[in-house]
Amino acid sequence: MSKRKVKETHMPVGECISQVQMILRERFCHRRLPEKPVGMESQHKHLLELLRRTAVHGESNSVLIVGPRGSGKTMLLNCVLRELLEVKDVNKNVLPVHLNGLLQTDDRIALKEITRQLNLENVVGDKVFGSFAENLAFLLEALKKGDRSSSRPVLFILDEFDLFAHHKNQTLLYNLLDVSQSAQAPIAVIGLTCRLDVLELLEKRVKSRFSHRQIHLLSSLSFIQYLDNVRSQLSLPQDFPDTKFYDEWNESIKTLCEDQPVVDVLQRHYNSSKDFRSLHLLLMLALSRVSASKPAIKPTDLLEASRVCMVDSKANILHGLSILELCLIIAMKHLNDIYEGEPFNFQMVHNEFKKFLQRKSHSIHNFDKPVVIKAFEHLQQLELIKSMDSSTAKIQKEYQLMKLMLDHSQIMEALQKYPQCPTDVKQWAMSAFG
């Protein structure tokens, strides 16, 4: 051990950095499950117990894991499954079936997927799967033939559970839950969803068959814990080959997390959302700035990353507009002020623009109407303005009613940052009435 230590202390910095990036990226992209789910011990225990009973005792169950996006539902389930499958008895005795509401958009596809994952296809040999009806009867028959003590438990994992509730008649859900409530093959139905009202989506007979177990993953993480988590997420694991670099890196991370601007940035992120997915995005951006010449994450990196994360998407578009287009936007803003958000058409905007040219403009020349129309269309293509009426064909372009998709604050901010913006345009934008 010590020998290796001595030898590997001299690992080049570049290699260390690539190692670090690999380890941390794996972490941030959810490629590897954490050792133990953080902050959800009771839920973990509940789910593990439940699935173990299905696997060991052959008890049928159904459960819903509910939590907002990014709260770790899938992570929790995968942790539990990993732990469950480590048990020797269980390993060969359960058949997990993974379904996703976004992939299996109707029951027909879902049934095919189930039979595929259960390897039931092979039993039939050369039989080409027939109709949907046959498929359903086939699966139900298979499940019905099993019994509690002798058949292998099947774990049905339904990701995006709420989308399954939109299938016709909820046939799949009814049948799965019905099996789970009758003396047939033991199954566990595990639904993952972010909708709190998911039970209201179920038909009452489906609902009655559901066991009403819900595991809520609602993180009540405090900011201190959040900071701790950031630190542990960025820290290198014990078994990092280069001990010297390991110490340096972890020390730098520690100081980073105590830096006030960094804490402010993290606090802002924490205020916005507590989930780890957005945090991982931030840390990933910061991590990508680490290089051989700069072998640590500096506070500026994190601040820059945060700026990138927080930036307003529309403001960027506004920076790329021409002066004419910007003037039109300002005209629209004034129209919005005057008419209190009522829709407008091109003619109105054009009139407003002409008024500006006549009265206040010094730097901007008059544009021909077709040029202005072109600019207006460009704005529409950028979806900065949006047509209000659906039937675009009937009305002439100039008279179509439009709405501005920008907030005033966005326009003003964009003007501040717009490179070489003429002052009269700025003043026009600031003035109360056009």
């Binding site: 005792h57 009867a137 099993g146 009655s208 009403h212 177990r213 507590k274 930036v311 529309k314």
Partner: protein, 964 residues
């Protein structure tokens, strides 16, 4: 005579081919004959007699019953409880003697009694009304007025002790074997709590009830069958022939009887199964539905002059259950009996011949049997009959042999056997003529049987493995019957203690006790660990070629399976079986959890007795009449609709196995388990005939099937679950389903289940609703008491819940939905919480209130408030901004843009850095994904409208509490 015999043999063979049933027809006849060795009793009036001039009768103070050849005399006085001879030897009728009287001519001795009923005498379909498991020695005070309460004293067997148990006290330990307990009364409709006043001992001083004798005093002394109104159970009062015959044997038995109870018991050594509730039910039914010719035939049969011929096929089937017991006896006998007994066996075999002869003379019995066997013979069986008759012939005598040994049993034990007595009746004389031939034939057959027996034995071994679902299915149908019989066996076991053969008897009762617990078929039960001693016994049993008596019942079923076409196309794959068997529940909580799982099918459904009764009667009447009909059952989910119907079908199938009602087929479809309403045709056709067809073709085939008379005159019971899913625009599926039963001879009974009560009015067009008819039933949600009862009955003495905890669950669920599934789920969750709260699983105690509260909270509390509290700060601010904007607008809807303005303002108030529009939208989307907010499509961007999905108060409450 010979011709008759030949017919009989043929019948026997045919039946035999059918399998086990017929075997037992044979055996049953013999058993009946031999065990009915009656003890002759002498009845004498005692005490002062007082005359009742008005009624021309004389009353007496007591009655002396003596047994011929014995000193002991039993005295029966009014006020005592007596046993009255019925057609069940093991469970004689129980009554309380009220008055003894005779007519002027002193020819008839009569008694006035108050009847008591055993549970087995209550019609099977009403047993559920009891709502609890009966005590094995429980009897019921009979309040029905339909029974004649006047009996012939000659049918009195002896006295019995009856103890009244107050309603709320439990039954005492069944220590004394001959004590019966009475707790409830039965008035042919319901069980009621018994008024203790009725049970107070009314000594002889009670004023005699002025009841006119049913028969004029001058009626012939022979056979006054005292009938019990609706029961119509012919109480076989000893007619002279029987008495004479009984007397002839009585000497042989006298030594055996150690007392009056002993006499009784001696008669009922092994015939536990003869008393099966279903039999009584059947006799009742026969009485009530005596109009149909087939039934009348049975009636004649059962009222036949000799008790030995009373048996019917139902009994035979019951007998099947008892094979265990009998085979044990056979074994023991074989061990004990020497060659010298063979003559006796020959003798004892012979009465069967006479048994054959007599019913033939009456005409009813054999013909009936033939028809049965023909009905039940499958076409293939008919084809093969000739070829296989040799084999059958070989099997038959073996069964005879079994019974021979058994029949010989009492004779062996009886020491003073006098062959002379046997010749007393003319029939016996006839028998003696045949005697010479019989033993030799028996030996021959025994020889032929040795080899097949071995083969069968091997086969049985292979079938012992539980992996043979085919062999198991026919048995599981008889589960209830097994239960009944095993319960009785247990009871009998208690009674048999001072029996001479008690040790032997005990041996064979051991497995049957297990039967009670497992209620599974015998094979699997035998698989279970038995004591070393037991295994030895089993081996010995095998050597004694007992096996054939069992195997025939399985061989046909095994043969039957390949006959169904099994092309690989239809092969349904199953879920692969597990390598390690599922673990059984380890502690009380796990046990409770297993029992509380919705899937564990209870033996009977509590709290749905009335509904059960209604559906049962409906289906039964349709099946009996061979007509069709529809019934609509509605009720909210989880109220036991489907379970009740299944229970009804189970009971009916059992009844039909017992041949009490005609055969019928049960088909079940579920609207939710098909992809399209028209698939209903496909599924029905497939389940009816095994054919596969497209929906249109199937509809045409079914149309044809139900337009023509049903094949085999078999009624089809069709259960349509989730009826509303079968709705189509033209409603032709529903129309057909309800139209078929109205066809002449279609014999289709359709039971439909749906959730909504007014489904026919709401979605059905007139011509469909009209065909559905008005037979409707609605299942009410369970009340809290019912839910409590459901939990209690499921737990079945597993003490896992505190009483209060159970009550809390049931009250809560009853208040919300009355859904039994929900109730059970909560209970299960509570056991889990209880288990987790304990430091070690084994130390976990009862489920308490706190555990139940936690489970209820988990399942019922809305998660919105917690979700709001756990939301991030910006999300909370956004919710506040939404409410602020709603208040400003006075509307419950605003665009994101408007809300965002409020949000920015709030941020400034809170001293936070205002967020950008993109961030704001992200926050809004997150809330929308949780459904705290309802949003328009996100492509509308800042213009999308926002609504709250929670009440404003809830939001404010959650946020306010958060601040504190």
């Amino acid at each position: 005579m010979i011709k008759n015999g030949a017919v009989w043999t043929e019948v026997g063979f045919r039946c035999l081919f059918e399998g086990h049933i017929s075997l037992y027809i044979w055996s049953e006849i013999m058993v009946r004959y031999f065990t009915r060795l009656r003890v002759r009793r002498i009845y004498k009036w005692g005490g002062r007699s007082y005359a009742d001039r008005k009624l021309k009768s004389y009353g007496f103070e007591y009655l002396n019953i003596g047994v011929e050849g014995q000193e002991a005399v039993t005295t029966v006085t009014p006020g005592q409880y007596i046993l009255i001879e019925g057609n069940d030897d093991d469970n004689p009728f129980v009554a309380k003697l009220l008055k003894l009287f005779g007519d002027e001519s002193h020819k008839q001795k009569k008694a006035l009694v108050q009847w008591f009923l055993r549970l087995s005498e209550v019609p099977q379909n009403k047993k559920l009304l009891l709502g609890r498991s009966p005590h094995p020695q429980e009897i019921f005070y009979y309040l029905g007025r339909a029974c004649d309460d006047e009996i012939n004293v000659e049918s009195i067997l002896g006295t019995v002790h009856v103890q009244h148990v107050p309603e709320d006290t439990p039954f005492p330990e069944p220590g004394t074997k001959d004590t019966l307990y009475v707790k409830m009364s039965w008035d042919t409709k319901a069980f009621n709590v018994l008024d203790p006043v009725l049970m107070q001992d009314t000594p002889a001083s009670t004023p005699p009830k002025p009841a006119l004798p049913l028969f004029p005093p001058c009626a012939s002394p022979a056979a006054t069958p005292v009938s019990r109104g609706p029961v119509r159970r012919a109480l076989p009062t000893p007619d002279p022939t029987v008495m004479r015959r009984a007397g002839s044997v009585s000497d042989t038995r006298a030594t055996m009887s150690t007392g009056k109870m002993g006499t009784l018991e001696a008669e009922s050594i092994h015939s536990a199964s003869k008393l099966s509730a279903s039999k009584i039910l059947s006799t009742r039914r026969r009485g009530s539905a005596a109009d149909t010719p087939g039934v009348r035939k049975k009636l004649q049969l059962s009222n036949g002059a000799s008790p030995g011929k009373r048996m019917t096929r139902e009994d035979v089937l019951c007998e099947l259950l008892d094979e265990e017991v009998e085979s044990e006896k056979v074994m023991s006998l074989k061990l004990s009996s020497s060659v010298s007994h063979s003559l006796q066996h020959g003798c004892s075999l012979s009465p069967m011949r006479s048994g054959r002869k007599t019913p033939n003379g009456q005409g009813g019995f054999p013909r009936k049997l033939t028809s049965i066997s023909l009905d039940r013979l499958s076409p293939t069986a008919l084809g093969e009959q000739d070829f296989s008759s040799d084999l059958l012939l070989a099997v038959t005598p073996l069964a005879l042999e079994d019974e021979v040994f058994e029949a010989g049993l009492p004779t062996d034990s009886g020491s003073a056997m006098t062959p002379k007595k046997r010749q007393a009746t003319p029939r016996r004389n006839y028998v003696r003529g045949q005697k010479a031939t019989t033993p030799s034939r028996r030996k021959e057959s025994a020889m032929t049987m040795r080899e097949p027996a071995l083969g069968v034995l091997a086969e049985e071994d292979s079938e012992d493995s539980p992996m043979q679902p085919i062999a198991m299915t026919p048995r599981s149908k008889r589960k209830s019957a097994q239960l009944v019989s095993s319960r009785i066996r247990k009871q009998l076991n208690l009674l048999d203690n001072n029996e001479e053969l008690s040790s032997d008897g005990d041996d064979c009762f051991v497995p049957s006790k297990k039967d009670l617990q497992s209620s599974s078929d015998e094979e699997s039960e035998e698989e279970q660990t038995e004591s070393e001693e037991e295994t030895v016994v089993r081996k010995a049993r095998g050597r004694n070629c007992k096996t054939p008596s069992r195997t025939p019942c399985k061989t046909p079923s095994k043969k039957a399976t390949p006959s169904t076409p099994r092309t690989p196309r239809n092969a349904t794959p199953s879920i692969p079986s597990r390598t390690v068997p599922a673990r059984q529940p380890g502690n009380i909580l796990e046990e409770a959890r297993a029992r509380l799982h919705v899937s564990s099918v209870p033996e009977s459904l509590p709290c749905r007795e009335q509904e059960f009764q209604d559906i049962y009667n409906f289906v039964e009447s349709k099946v009996m009449d061979g007509t069709g009909g529809c019934m609509y059952i509605s009720g909210v989910p989880g109220t036991g609709k489907t379970a009740t119907v299944h229970e009804v079908i189970r009971c009916l199938q059992h009844a039909s196995d017992m041949d009490e009602i005609p055969m019928f087929r049960f088909i079940e479809i579920n609207g939710m388990k098909m992809t399209d309403p028209h698939q209903a045709y496909v599924q029905i056709l497939q389940k009816l005939t095994g054919q596969k067809a497209t929906a249109d073709h199937a509809a045409a085939l079914l149309e044809k099937r139900f337009s023509n008379p049903a094949p085999k005159k078999e009624t089809t019971v069709l259960l349509v679950d989730e009826l509303d899913l079968l709705w189509t625009r033209k409603q032709n599926v529903m129309y057909n389903l309800f139209d078929w039963p109205t066809r002449h001879h279609a014999r289709l009974v359709v039971l439909t289940i749906a959730n909504t009560m007014d489904l026919p009015e709401r979605i059905m067009i007139n011509r469909v609703a009209s065909r559905l008819g008005l037979t409707r039933m609605s299942f009410q949600p369970y009340s809290f008491k019912q839910l409590q009862q459901i939990i209690t009955s499921r737990l079945n003495k597993v003490k896992a819940f505190e009483e209060d905890a159970m009550q809390l669950v049931s009250r809560k669920v009853a208040a919300l939905s009355g859904d039994a599934r929900r109730c059970l789920d909560i209970c299960r969750r509570a056991t889990e919480i209880c288990e987790h709260s304990a430091s070690h699983p084994s130390t976990a105690g009862l489920v308490r209130m706190s555990h139940v509260m936690e489970a209820l909270d988990e399942m019922f509390s809305s998660s919105y408030i917690t979700a709001i509290r756990c939301a991030s700060l910006q999300e909370q601010l956004f919710l506040r901004a939404v409410i602020a904007e709603f208040r400003r607008l006075g509307l419950e809807e605003a665009t994101f843009q408007q809300v965002f303005v409020q949000h920015q303002a709030l941020c400034r108030v809170e001293g936070l850095q205002p967020i950008s529009v993109s961030e704001g939208l992200a926050v809004c989307q997150r809330l929308g994904a949780c459904r705290l907010l309802l949003l328009e499509a996100s492509r509308l961007d800042v213009l999308q409208r926002v609504r709250l999905n929670v009440s404003q108060d809830d939001v404010l409450y959650a946020l306010k509490a958060d601040r504190d």
